[in-house]
C-alpha cells in the first residue's frame, strides 16, 4: 500500500523540500500542501519512471553532490585560464573513451552529468549498450589520467551509492 502510494519515496521527499524552497517560508499549511502534491505528482508520473532505482545510501549521495560542487568550482578556474590565456593552437582537445561498469541507468546518467559539469570534460556520447562513454576533453595532454580520475573519483563512488 505504502509502496503503491509512494512509488519513489526519495522523490517525494525531495518534492516536499522543493515546495518549501518555492514558498520560501516554514508553515504547517505549506507542509500539508507539499505532502499532498508530493503524493499526487509521483503517482501521476510513475508511469514514466517504471522501475524503482536502488539507492544504498542517501548521505553518500549528498556527499557525492558536495564533492561535485567543489570540483566544479575548482576546475572552473582551470578552464577559465585555458579560455583566457592559453594560445589557441596549444589547446590539446581530444576524445577519450571511458569504459563504464555501472549497471543502473540512473547511475550512468549521473556519471555522465558529472563529467559534463566538471570543467574540462563533456560527455559527448554513449555506446549502444551503455558500457562506454565518449568524453571530449578541452585540454588533455594526458588522456589516461583523466579517464582514471573519472573512474576512481566518480564512478567508484556512484557504484557504492547505487549498486
Amino acid at each position: 500500500m505504502i509502496r503503491r502510494l509512494f512509488p519513489h519515496p526519495v522523490l517525494s521527499l525531495l518534492l516536499v523540500g522543493t515546495w518549501f524552497l518555492l514558498v520560501n517560508k516554514w508553515a504547517v499549511g505549506s507542509l500539508v500542501m507539499a505532502a499532498i502534491l508530493a503524493t499526487l505528482i509521483p503517482l501521476a508520473t510513475h508511469a514514466y519512471w517504471p522501475h524503482k532505482p536502488r539507492l544504498n545510501s542517501l548521505p553518500l549521495l549528498l556527499a557525492y553532490i558536495a564533492l561535485v560542487v567543489w570540483d566544479v568550482i575548482l576546475a572552473n578556474i582551470q578552464v577559465a585560464k585555458i579560455v583566457l590565456f592559453m594560445p589557441r593552437d596549444r589547446i590539446r582537445s581530444r576524445f577519450i573513451t571511458v569504459p563504464v561498469s555501472l549497471k543502473s541507468p540512473e547511475a550512468i546518467a549521473l556519471l555522465a552529468g558529472t563529467i559534463t559539469m566538471t570543467p574540462g570534460t563533456v560527455t559527448a556520447d554513449m555506446n549502444g549498450d551503455g558500457t562506454a562513454l565518449l568524453i571530449h576533453s578541452l585540454h588533455a595532454p594526458y588522456p589516461d589520467a583523466i579517464r582514471d580520475e573519472i573512474k576512481s573519483r566518480y564512478e567508484a563512488r556512484l557504484k557504492r551509492i547505487f549498486e
Binding site: L15, A27, G29, M33, T45, A47, I108, D129, G130
Partner: protein
Amino acid sequence: MTLALIAALPFLAALLPGLTIRAGRTACAATSFAASALAFLLLAAKAPAVLAGEVLIYRLDWLPALGLSAGFRLDGLALFFAGLILGIGMLVIAYARFYLSRSDNMAVFYTYLMLFQGAMTGIVLSDNILLLLVFWELTSLSSFLLIGFWNHTAQGRQGARMALAVTGGGGLALIAGMLILGNIAGSYDLSVILTKGDEIRASSLYLPSLVLILLGCFTKSAQFPFHFWLPHAMAAPTPVSAYLHSATMVKAGIFLLARLWPMLSGTPEWFWIVTSAGLATLLIGAKTALFKDDLKALLAYSTISHLGLITLLLGLGTPAAATVAMFHILNHATFKAALFLTAGIIDHETGTRDLRLLGGLRKLMPVTFAIAAVASLSMAGMPPLNGFLSKEMMLEETVHAGYGPAWLLPVLATIGAAYSVAYSLRFLVHGFFGPAKPTPQKPHDPPFGLWAPPALLAALVILIGLLPMTIAAWLVNAASSATTGTAISVKIAHWHGLASPALWMSVAAFAGGALALAAYRPFRHLWDAAPKPDAKAIFDAAMATLTRAATALNDRLHDGSFTRATAIALATLVATCAYAFATATHTAGTRPLLPVTPIPAIGWLLLVTATLAATLHHRNRLMSLLFVGVIGLILSAGFAWLSAPDLALTQITVEVVTVVLMLLALHFLPKETPRESTALRRLRDVALSGAAGLGLAALAYAMMTRATAFPPISAYHLAQSKPGAGGTNAVNTIIVDFRGYDTFGEIIVLGIAALILFALTESLLANGAATRRLAQFAASRPEPAGDRHPLLMVMATRFILPFALMVAAFLFFRGHNLPGGGFVAGLIAAIAFVLQYMASGLGWTESRQRIAFHSLIAAGILTAAATGAGAWIWGLPFLTSDYGYIHLPPLEEFEWATAAIFDLGVFLTVLGAVMQALNSLGRLARRAGERPARTPYDIDMGEGL
C-alpha cells in the same frame, strides 16, 4: 378586396397545376381555366360600376415606410386591360391543353402561365406604382420561364435570357423612373400622382424620370431599338407567343404609357420621343415582317409594328389619338392572338411554320383557313373588319399630328399600312393559296379544342368590325376616359365620306401592299441582298464581350494571390491611416522619456539584430526559427524589466511550445524557401512593409510619449484588486476577475484550436494524397543519426517532470497574488509532458499512460463555465467571483477564491490544448514511418521494459 382577389387568384391557381396534374391533363388545365374564369367573373361583376365612371380602390398597407402599399385600382383602363388579359388568358389556357404534347410538363407550363397571368393582372390593377413595379418585374421573370419552357433547345434558353436581359434591364430603369416620379409627386399612389400632372411636368426631374420610364416601357413593348428580343421569344410554345407576345406582356409597356399619359404626355419631350420611337418601330417591324418566312417570326414583327403604331398614337398626346390607341389595342389583341393560335395549328398539323414550305392549305384545313382569313384581313385593315376601323382612325390622327412637315407622318403611316397589307396578305396567300406542298405531316383541321379559341377571336374580329359601337365603343370609352382623364365618347364609323384623307391613304396602302406582294420575288432579292444588322448577333456579341470582360476582370482580381491581396490591403491601410492622421491636429507628447541604459540597449540591439537576421536568413527556415527564438527570449527579458513578470512567464513558456511545434512541422516541410521574387517585387514589399513599420513606430512613439487625457480605467483595477477581487497581483485579478470573461473566451479559443488540430489530423490521415506523401516522405528521408532516445535525456526528464509539475502547482496557487496563474501553470505542465514525449517518444509515452486531451479541454472549459455560472445561485451575474479566509487549526489561515476554480479551468484547458496540438503533429510523424519505441531509452540496458 375583390380587386386584390382578382390579382391574387392567378397566383393562387399557380400552386394548383402541380397537384391537379395527378388527376390528368384536362383537370390540370381546367383548374387554371376555372381560376381565370372566376377572376374574369369577379371583374365583370365590378364592370358596371366602373363603366358608370366609378374608380374602385382597395388599399392594404405593406411597407408604409417606403410608401409601398398593396393598392389596387379599377378604372376603365384597368378594366379594359384586365378583361383582355383574363379573357384571352382563358382561351390560351384551353388551347394549350390540346397544343402541348405528352412529353411536355404541363403542370409546370400552367404554373408558369398562371404566374404570368397574375403578374400581368397585377400590373394593370395596381394603384401603387411600386406595387406595379413588383408585378412588372414578375412578368419579366415568368415570361423568362415560359420562353425557356422548351429549355432543351438552345433557342429556348437564349431567347429566354435575351428577353430577361432586355425587359428585366428596362424594368430596372423603370424602377428608377418610378421612384423619381413618386418623389416628385410625394406619393407612390396613382390616385395621388394622377392629380399632380402639372407639378410633375414642371419638375426639373421630369426629363430623367420620363426617359427612365420610357426605357422600361419601350423594352417591354419591343419598341425600336429594343424590339429585337421579341422574335427570339418565339422559341416559346405558341400559346405563350399568342398570349405574352401579342395580347398581354408586350402591351404592359403600352399600358404603362397609357397609365402615365395624364402626367407625362403633352410635353415636346414626350411627343418627340414617343412618337418617333413608335414610328420607327412601326416601319421597321412592318418591313421586316414582310420578309420573314417563319410564320411566328412574321407575326412577331407584325406585332412589333402594331405596337409601334399604338405607341405612335399615344405619343401624339391628344385624347383622340389615345382613344384610337385603345381601340387598336383591343383589335390587335383579337386578330393577333387568333393569328398566333392559327400559326400554332399550322405548325402542329403540318410540322412546319416555314411559309416557303407551305401552300394550298385552304383546301386541306378549311376551318383554319377561315379563321386565318378573317384575322389576317383584319390585320391588313380590310373593311369591314375591326382592324380596318382602328387603322382608318389612326391614319386620320396622323394627318393632324404636326410631326415635322404636315405630309411626313401621314406618308410614313401610309407606307407602314402598306407593308401591313403586304405581310398580312402574304401570310394568307403563301400559306393557304397556291398548290399544296409536301409537309412533314399530312395536314388536316385540328380538333375542336384547338380551333375553337381562335374561332372565337375571329368571331370577335367580325363582330367588332360590324358593330363597333355596340360591342366595343363602351369599353374603348371607359378605357380612354380613364387614360386621358377626360370623358370620351368615341364615334366609330366605317364611312367618313370621300373627303376623308384616311380613305385615300387606306386605298394607297392597299394598292401598295398588293403591289408589294405581287412583286414579292424581286423585293425579296433586294431584301436578302441588303446588309441588315443581325440584332441577335449583335446582342450575343455584346453579351459575350461583357461576360468575357467580367470573367477576365474577375479572374484577374480574384486569382487567389494571397501576397497581392495582402500588399493591396497594406497599401490601403497605410494610405488611409496616413490620411486620417494628416487631416487632424496632433500635438507631440510631453511625458518625460526613460533614459537609455546599457543593458536594455544591448537587449534592444539583440532584438533588432535577431529580427533582421530572421528576415534576411528567412530562406534557411531553421535558422530563421532560431532567430525568432532569440526575439522571444529578449522580449521575455524585456517584459521582466518593464514590470510585467506575468508576461515574462507567459512569453517564456509559450515560446518553448511554439518552437517545438514549428520544428515538428518543419520536419515535413521543405527546409529552404526558394528565391522566387523578382527584385522589383522585393522592392515593393520592402517599401510597403517599411511604410507600415515606420507608421507603427511613429504611432508607438507618439503613444508612449504622451499622457492620457483621462485617467485610465486600470486605476480602478489597481484600487480594487485586493479589496474587490481578493488578490494582490493586479494583472491576475484582471484576468480572472475584472475581465474573466475575456479569459473565458481566450481559453475557448485555445480549446477550439486543439479541436481543429485533432480534426485536421484525422482528416489528413484519412486523405489519400496526404498519407501517400507521408509514406513517400518516410521512404526518401535521409538516414538520421542513431540513438533517438538518449539515456541522459530520459533520466533528466524523469527527474525534471515531477519538479516541473511542482513548480506548476506553485505558480498556479500563488497566481492570484504574485506572478503566475493557471495559464502559466498549464503551460509548464504541458512542457513537462512534452519533455517526456521528446525523451521517450510519443509511442512509448502514450502506451504507458494515455491521457484524453479532449476530455481535459472539455473539463477545463466546463469548469470555468461552471464557476462563472455558480454566481447565478446567489443571483449574481456570470463570473462574479468571491473570496474569503478559512482558518483550520493547526493550519494557518488561508485564502480561498472562486477565481482559483476558474483558473483551474484555465489550467486544464491550456494543458489539454497544448498536449493535443503536439500530439496531433506527433501522430502525423508516426504515419511517416516512425515506429514507437519499445523501451524508454535506446541504450540497451537489458531491462526489457
